[in-house]
């Protein structure tokens, strides 16, 4: 009985928390068509989200590409189909690994910082202060962050795709002695534009998830420093899990 009650309470809390995301999204959508848009803040957030995430994202991508090349070599070598490595590596990076891994890294780096920053502003009444200074906190704080992460995710993913495929190429050609020309031709010939586009679509959706979840967690945070910590954890965990679930759904949808 106690168990059931506890599950009930937990799911009530979850429903309550999840209700925050549409709430915030509604506030954003209602403001989208009218100025002020705070372009300067959008640009600053783009720099923080995009440019400053580059090292992490590119490092992740290059190692992923390299590992992919090694692992697919192990598999394809067993039945002598090494020429397939190029296709498999580029295909999986473009369609799957690029967007998902970049999404997870950005959720950790950017989502955490959104939630912590907004949460601190909430508990120290800075958001209330914005309101009393005739400034709409949703416009001033939430929209620039949300727009920045939605814009930057596809760009980061394009760069990650390129670097990841380069990593795969380097390992295949220099370590596994594949022919560079065939490798490039195989990468190129079997790819379709949909592979790239589907990855970018995923990136955009993941960006929206990260932005919405972590901004809402921070914005509606309560309970002092402990509350900020909780909000940050929730922002990262919920964004990451939502990314993986959305990934499956998008893949299934594109697959049709």
């Amino acid at each position: 009985m106690l168990m059931l009650q506890r599950i009930g309470a937990a799911s009530e809390r979850l429903a309550f928390a999840v209700g925050l995301y549409p709430l915030l999204l509604g506030k954003v959508l209602r403001r989208l068509h009218k100025p002020p848009w705070f372009f300067a803040l959008i640009i600053r957030q783009c720099e923080m989200v995009g440019v400053q995430s580059l090292p992490v994202v590119l490092l992740t991508a290059v190692f992923t590409g390299m590992v992919m090349a090694l692992q697919s070599w192990v598999a394809f070598h067993r039945f002598g189909a090494e020429s397939m490595i190029a296709t498999v590596v580029s295909l999986s990076i473009l369609r799957e690994l690029g967007p998902v891994l970049v999404g997870l890294m950005v959720a950790g780096r950017v989502g955490a910082s959104f939630a912590a920053e907004l949460g601190t502003m909430r508990v120290s009444e800075q958001i209330d202060a914005l309101w009393t200074l005739s400034t709409d906190p949703v416009r001033y704080l939430i929209m620039p962050r949300l727009i920045a992460v939605i814009l930057m995710m596809p760009l980061l993913v394009v760069l990650a795709d390129a670097i990841g495929m380069l990593g795969g190429y380097a390992v295949s050609v220099h370590l596994l002695d594949q022919n560079p020309h065939t490798y490039i031709r195989n990468s190129y010939d079997y790819l379709q534009l949909i592979d790239l586009y589907s990855g970018l679509l995923k990136a955009t959706v993941f960006g929206a998830i990260i932005g919405l979840v972590s901004c809402a967690e921070g914005y509606y945070c309560a309970g002092g420093a402990a509350g900020v910590g909780r909000a940050t954890t929730r922002a990262v965990v919920i964004s990451a899990m939502s990314i993986l679930m959305a990934d499956y759904m998008l893949t299934a949808w594109i697959f049709q």
């Binding site: 309550f16 925050l20 009444e125 906190p137």
Partner: protein
């Protein structure tokens, strides 16, 4: 409320039957209050009595459970966000914890509204520096709030609250954390704002210094209600044991401490009203 003046002029701020409770605990319990133009109204009360909550309800930062709050004759909760923000231009608020933006230097904090209204940077810096001199902090314009002491933050918060020349100012304990000399400087500054610029203000105070200096009306908030509203002179002469205990700051007397009040309120609260996740989330906030 019964004075002939109020029949001619409309109150700047008017609360009627305002209720607010947190998790079934009544914090504001049927508050009615009128503040006339140019009046300086001081709210006193124990720590935790709901003074800050009262101000936040007036500003629309918290939504009262019921009751109406009129500012300049308008119920702000019925207005759209944009309209409310526009009306905010006539309001200044000094937060209890200063609430400075820690990503910005002091001058940008102070001139925030002016910059948003399109003032050029050089002019805004100048104005900010002038305000800093008023509050006795010259030369710190380029520091970050994290580098300031508590009392300095409070004074920067004060400078920010009055920088855009508001008509209605809310001060949440303007003297908290200040040394006696600075208290006097700030008291004189607030008094001057009243006399020269005819601002209407609602001030929260714990000690009697501000009350003596410039209050028109004093309200004592106790157990969620306005225990008594009277002028400063009347307060001085009052023989009410509860007021006397508060003024003289004695531990013995009729005042019940808030924990007892809490227990009582909890018993009255509706137990079926689930605690929800109010402590975890701030869903109702703007």
């Amino acid at each position: 409320m019964t004075s002939p003046l109020s029949q001619i002029t409309q109150p700047k701020i008017s609360l009627s039957h305002v209720y607010k409770s947190f998790q079934g605990r009544k914090v504001l319990d049927d508050i009615s209050l009128d503040i006339m133009p140019g009046e300086s109204h001081i709210v006193i009360g124990l720590s935790g009595a709901g003074k800050s909550v009262l101000i936040k309800c007036i500003l629309g930062l918290l939504k009262p459970d019921s009751g109406t709050i009129l500012v300049n004759g308008e119920n702000w909760l019925e207005l759209s966000v944009d309209q409310r923000l526009k009306r905010m231009a006539c309001i200044g608020m000094l937060f209890q914890g200063a609430a400075l933006f820690d990503s910005m230097p002091v001058w940008e904090n102070i001139a925030f509204v002016l910059l948003r209204q399109g003032m050029a940077k050089a002019e805004a810096v100048e104005r900010a520096e002038e305000m800093l001199e008023w509050v006795g902090l010259p030369g710190i314009a380029d520091k970050k709030p994290a580098e300031l002491s508590g009392g300095m933050k409070k004074r920067v918060g004060l400078a920010r609250a009055i920088c855009h020349r508001p008509e209605i100012i809310f001060y949440d304990e303007p003297l908290a954390g200040l040394d006696p000399v600075m208290s006097d400087v700030i008291t004189k500054l607030i008094k001057r704002l009243h006399e020269r610029m005819h601002v209407t203000s609602l001030t929260i105070a714990h000690n009697m210094k501000l009350v003596d200096a410039f209050s028109d009306q004093v309200s004592m908030l106790y157990e969620g209600k306005i225990y008594q509203q009277l002028s400063a002179a009347e307060l001085r002469l009052s023989t009410d044991p509860l007021l006397r205990q508060f003024i003289e700051g004695r531990a013995e007397g009729p005042i019940r401490f808030s924990s007892e009040a809490t227990d009582k309120a909890d018993l009255n609260a509706d137990p079926s009203q689930s605690r929800k996740s109010q402590t975890i989330f701030n869903k109702e906030r703007v």
